[in-house]
């Protein structure tokens, strides 16, 4: 019993020390510059939470009423709150890589604007990391959940929801065109927020008979192996247990695949062909086209679905015959049958039938209002108005959209699509126009194109924001 008393005192003292250190560290970050508004939200939350936690622990240490509790009960009570300290450390760690010089700061506000067009309350935190991977994580819900069982739950009330942490590879931070892949990551946010899974997953038939057949085959193989060796083999799984396990694996795989496929279609809907081009640049290992995993469907299936979506939504011939031709070649790749892999993946593949792929397109079309989707006419307009500026080495901060209005700043998907069409179809003209000082080799030219696009993002966002603020000031 006495040991509990000592344990509680040590736990309290350690938690208070750590809390003080955490609060001091969070306060020090005041001088740090971050690219995303979400970073300030996270920093202020950790500061607020650690301060309140410290106050709570101070009260707890001197609360005479707690003496009435059994030491064991008191220890559990303290632990319930102390466990927040390592959690808050983790949350603060998210800020690493979000500093303004480690992220393309020019990209943050246009990206946030694009996302907020569809999810008006979304807040983002863009960070770069050492992994060669793009990812998105909604953290507000997790934080609320974690705090919900503690006396500090009210501290989470001011957190914006959803709060997305988007990670991009550090080494590719300035490769703007590749960041079109973030449309897929934003798609994950939309998929969860609009509960698209509820509209798709119930319509998929789990192949129960085929699962049973597979379970029977595996069980029979195991039985035979046991009979042959008879000594060292473990007892084979019962067929019924195997069937349950396989059902779980297959449904899990289907669910993950549908999520990814839907986010691909969402990516095409909100960012147009730019998302597809970024996708094929990042996943262009042809040898891996049929490789699936439990979390991701075979790229060939994704390519096929995106090409179909592009054909339905965009008049690519009107954009540029070379783009039309390129999509045509990928269509051929996407149309080929996926080579069947492991048993459970084959079953998942059969369940995600052409009917389901059509359903995904329909569900996405209904979820994203036409006014917010990137359209075929916009693509043609962007190629006619933005691309010529970029081609002459001028950032597209303002373009004439309609004959009756003045110069308007283009938004993120418009710039990305014009940039991709320039890179894929008219890059030679761009290179020829570049001053020799920049370097005329392909790599230097591509670097200049990325810089021009970043500048376009920066200047267009300033122009848009300036106009908004000026209008607000006018009342």
């Amino acid at each position: 019993m006495e040991a509990y008393g000592v344990e509680i005192d040590i736990k309290l003292a350690t938690a208070r020390q750590r809390c003080q250190a955490l609060h001091a560290h969070a306060s020090k970050l005041e001088t740090q510059l971050y690219a995303s508004p979400g970073a300030r939200v996270v920093k202020e939350f950790v500061e607020r939470a650690s301060r309140q936690l410290l106050e709570f622990l101070d009260v707890e240490a001197t609360n005479p009423e707690l003496e009435l509790l059994e030491p064991r009960e008191r220890e559990i009570r303290i632990h319930r709150t102390c466990k927040l300290v390592p959690f808050l450390y983790q949350v603060l760690g998210i800020l690493g890589g979000a500093e303004i010089n480690l992220t393309p700061a020019e990209l943050v506000l246009p990206l946030r604007r694009s996302l907020r067009n569809i999810l008006p309350h979304a807040e983002i935190l863009l960070r770069s990391g050492p992994d060669l991977n793009y990812s998105i994580l909604e953290i507000a819900d997790d934080i609320r959940q974690f705090f919900s069982e503690t006396p500090l739950a009210p501290v989470t009330e001011n957190l914006p929801s959803p709060l997305y942490v988007m990670s991009i590879p550090l080494v590719e931070a300035n490769e703007v065109l590749l960041h079109a892949i973030l449309a897929h990551e934003a798609g994950h946010g939309i998929y969860d927020d609009k509960r698209l899974a509820d509209q798709i997953l119930p319509r998929i038939e789990v192949p129960k008979e085929q699962i049973a057949q597979l379970a029977r085959t595996i069980a029979s193989e195991q039985r035979e192996a046991t009979e042959q060796k008879n000594k060292t083999m473990t007892f084979p799984l019962q067929e019924i247990a195997l069937r349950d396990l396989l059902t779980q694996v297959v449904t899990g795989t289907i669910s993950s695949w549908v999520t990814e496929l839907t986010c691909d279609v969402l990516g095409v809907m909100i960012f147009g062909p730019a998302y597809f081009f970024a996708f094929i640049h990042l996943f262009s290992t042809l040898a891996m086209l049929d490789e699936a995993s439990q979390s991701h469907p075979p790229p060939r299936l994704r390519v096929g679905l995106m090409c179909s979506c592009l054909r339905h939504r965009f008049s690519l011939k009107e954009v540029d015959p070379r783009i039309d031709d390129l999509i045509g070649k990928w269509e051929v790749v996407g149309r080929e049958d996926v080579k069947q892999g492991r048993g459970e993946f084959s079953l998942a593949l059969n369940s995600v039938s052409p009917r389901i792929l059509i359903l995904i397109e329909e569900v996405v079309a209904a979820a994203v209002p036409e006014t917010l989707a990137y359209s075929s006419s916009q693509l043609v307009d962007d190629v006619n108005k933005i691309l010529p500026l970029l081609k002459e080495n001028v950032p597209a901060a303002e373009v004439v959209r309609h004959s009756h209005s003045g110069l308007e700043p283009p938004e993120m998907p418009h710039l990305l699509n014009a940039g991709w069409v320039l890179l894929l179809a008219r890059f030679q003209e761009f290179r020829e126009n570049l001053p020799a000082q920049i370097g005329t080799d392909a790599l230097a030219s591509q670097k200049q194109l990325n810089k021009l696009l970043l500048k376009s993002f920066e200047l267009a966002e300033i122009k848009r924001r300036w106009t908004e603020v000026a209008n607000q000031a006018k009342g």
Partner: protein, 213 residues
């Protein structure tokens, strides 16, 4: 060649003329408040302070010796880049020097050149912005501003404020194809330069044989 300074009215007309091919247009973009930045009564365009700064890292830089080729080439590495969003500020302390940029991208056709002059209102507070920075015909890029505080009091630099004026002049006698060949062409951020690149070899020769044989 002789040059003719463009009036505010001519500047406005040139900036609004979208009929010419892009290469032959005068482009200053974005103009956040066009009527205020290009006044018909004046003969210049007001340009604003941009969001990027480059600050020399004193603790890593022992000297600036432009005859040392490797040092001159590495000069860019000894500068910290800082991005300050509009609405935030950068404090320039007395005797501190920083490279800034114009917010606007400037694109000059082959028959126009420009020079940049810091606004006198800043100068009176001790802030020196560039010194007769010439921009050659055919230049396209942001303009790097050399900003120093020679006053006694720290000065807040707010991106988005008008900081300099651009005087634009017509160059008579130039031809299409004549274009700026400076190393700053196409700049998207403030840039240092290898100041002695053109003269390094000859000065080096002088150094090695100071007396004529």
């Amino acid at each position: 060649m002789k040059a003719v300074l463009l009036s505010g009215r001519r500047l406005k007309a040139a900036l609004c003329d979208l009929t010419k091919p892009i290469k032959e247009r005068l482009i200053i973009t974005p103009l956040l408040a066009p009527d205020e930045q290009v006044s018909e009564a004046e003969a210049s365009v007001d340009v604003r302070l941009g969001q990027k700064f480059k600050v020399p890292r004193r603790t890593k830089l022992s000297q600036l010796n432009h005859l040392d080729e490797s040092h001159a080439k590495n000069i860019e590495r000894y500068k910290d880049e800082t991005f300050v969003r509009i609405g935030d500020y950068f404090v320039l302390h007395p005797r501190q020097f920083v490279l800034g940029e114009t917010l606007e991208w400037v694109h000059l056709p082959h028959d126009l050149s420009a020079y940049v002059v810091g606004r006198s209102s800043w100068g009176r507070d001790g802030l020196i912005i560039a010194t007769a920075l010439g921009v050659h015909p055919g230049y396209s890029g942001i303009l790097t501003l050399e900003v120093s505080n020679i006053g006694e009091i720290p000065v807040y630099l707010w991106p988005g404020v008008t900081i300099a004026q651009l005087f634009i002049q017509q160059v008579v006698g130039s031809e299409i194809g004549d274009s700026d060949r400076s190393e700053f062409q196409g700049s998207t951020e403030p840039r240092s330069a290898d100041a002695a690149e053109a003269d390094r070899r000859i000065i080096e020769t002088f150094r090695n044989s100071p007396w004529p044989s």
